[in-house]
Amino acid sequence: MAKYLLLKHYRGAPAAVNDVPMDRWTPDEISAHMRYMQDFADRLEAVGEFVDGQALAPGGTWVRYDGEGRPPVTDGPFAETKDLIAGWMVIDVDSYERAVELAGELSAAPGAGGKPIHEWLELRPFLTAPPTITE
């Protein structure tokens, strides 16, 4: 009973095995990829392990406080940003091993040529509520 975040990066992750940008895929390959992602989420829900899944637009804005009475300062997006998050899935599973297994399945989503992308996904545990019994 632990929650994990599966993070998918637009860039910043190590190169995938089948590393062809999506705009070079055929429309059918893109459809197959999308279907795989949806089926994966549906399957997770059916086994009671799905919590959330979201995709993010690539472009973002940096915002910071600029002092009392002043509007926040905005900037970016910065072209040189190394790491760009594409989206995430949150899972609730019994063990770290199960989380790794599921991340491996998600990484097998088909890409160019209908072959698995083998893309690197980042797996991050959530910080939990403290246990009642500690000593």
Partner: protein
């Protein structure tokens, strides 16, 4: 969402939810003994609970349990009549010998065994126990564990399919039930449902159904920890370690009850891990001030616990106790024998180094422990410890 419940367990709508939920396992047991398959019977009982919340305020039944059995049985028949499941059910009833009359306590016990069946994953067993034995709704369980209701519904129906072939009258293993109840108590989030209180209620109910020293041990352990709940966090949510807790805020009534239950269990001379853990909690509860804690006895109990479980986490906690009983050097020696990749190893090392006077090492280890902390509250606590030591240098 559940309506707020007052001390008598009667919510604003006039329904005694505590009574309703305490009747759940008995009603479900009766349906199963009449030949209903577990999954369908469980759905029917949930429907009856919902119906009771709706109907009882205007028309309270004289015999609440009889009312629930009647409504649940009718729901079960309605659900199975139309489809082929009816034939399957009739075959099932034909195949098996007619169940004889059995006391309700047996039904309740069998339900605990079924919901904690070893074929279930821990999270499935927890969800199924809370619904089928605890009478909580899927939505309440989903909220308690911060997952979508649809996910929890699937987890529960999958769990029911997993145990579909298990015979209801098979004897189970109490140890698996205790592990599930321990998880509900220890690893709850703080949502709408008070999971710690629910775990205590379910463990009390189990203790009434079976006479077993480890069930008593777990109940005592829960009561002794629950007694300290109010003092465990500061108003801002920060963790307050045992030594710094305001002991005047400990619930002496719960402590007295926990100690009494534990003493009766220990007197039977069938020691187990929960009794040993409860004994440690009782020794802490017994000390009027942190400085008066009987650490020598606590170390002895950790030795018992390590013998019973072989758990490296127990040895880690033992190192802390040794540090208090025989001084930080002895604690560090006990620590040196352990694997430094254990969860909370660096936190223990930091504490013992500070007590030994090595503030620089302690600050470094507290910062390391904060990076590895599995919970937000611990991370904040450990970061503050590192900051305190760094500021003093």
């Amino acid at each position: 969402m559940t309506a707020p419940v007052n001390e008598a367990g009667v919510d604003e709508a006039g329904v005694n939810e505590a009574l309703l939920r305490s009747l759940t396992p008995g009603v479900l047991g009766i349906l199963v003994r009449r030949g209903a398959d577990f999954a369908a019977a469980e759905d029917a009982v949930q429907d009856a609970l919902v119906e009771a919340v709706r109907a009882w305020p205007a028309d309270p039944p004289r015999d609440p349990k009889g009312w629930l059995v009647t409504v649940a049985w009718r729901r079960f028949l309605d659900a199975t009549r139309a489809d082929t499941a009816r034939r399957r059910r009739e075959e099932l009833v034909d195949e098996e010998p007619a169940p004889g009359p059995a006391p309700a306590a047996d039904d309740t016990l069998q339900l605990y065994f079924l919901c904690a069946h070893p074929s279930l994953t821990p999270s499935s067993a927890v969800a199924l126990t809370l619904r089928a034995v605890g009478g909580l709704t899927t939505r309440q369980i989903a909220q308690a564990y911060l997952v979508p209701e649809a996910t929890m519904a699937q987890r529960i129906s999958r769990a029911k399919r997993t145990v579909a072939g298990v015979r209801f009258d098979q004897p189970g293993d109490v140890a698996t039930v205790l592990r599930v109840l321990y998880l509900v108590f220890n690893e709850g989030y703080s949502g709408d449902v008070d999971l710690a209180a629910e775990a205590i209620r379910l463990t009390r109910q189990l203790a009434a159904a079976i006479d077993h020293p480890e069930v008593a041990g777990l109940l005592a352990l829960m009561l002794l920890h629950h007694a300290r709940r109010a003092s465990r966090t500061a108003p801002d949510g920060a963790l307050v370690p045992l030594a710094e807790q305001d002991r005047a805020r400990w619930d002496t009534r719960l402590i007295a009850e926990g100690v009494e239950i534990l003493q009766a269990a220990l007197a039977r001379d069938r020691l187990g891990e929960f009794q040993a853990q409860a004994a440690i909690a009782a020794l802490h509860a017994d000390a009027p001030a942190a400085a008066e804690t009987d650490w020598v006895q606590i170390v002895e109990w950790y030795d018992e616990l390590a013998r019973l479980t072989g758990s490296p986490v127990v040895r880690l906690n033992r190192a802390v106790a040794v540090g208090e009983a025989d001084g930080p050097r002895a604690g560090l020696e006990a620590l040196a024998a352990l694997d430094d990749s254990l969860p909370r190893y660096s936190a223990v090392a930091a504490y013992l180094h500070e007590r030994d006077g090595d503030r620089a090492a302690a600050a470094r280890l507290y910062a390391e422990a904060a990076r590895k902390a599995p919970t937000l509250a611990e991370r904040d606590y450990l970061t503050r410890q590192a900051a305190r030591l760094n500021a003093g240098r």
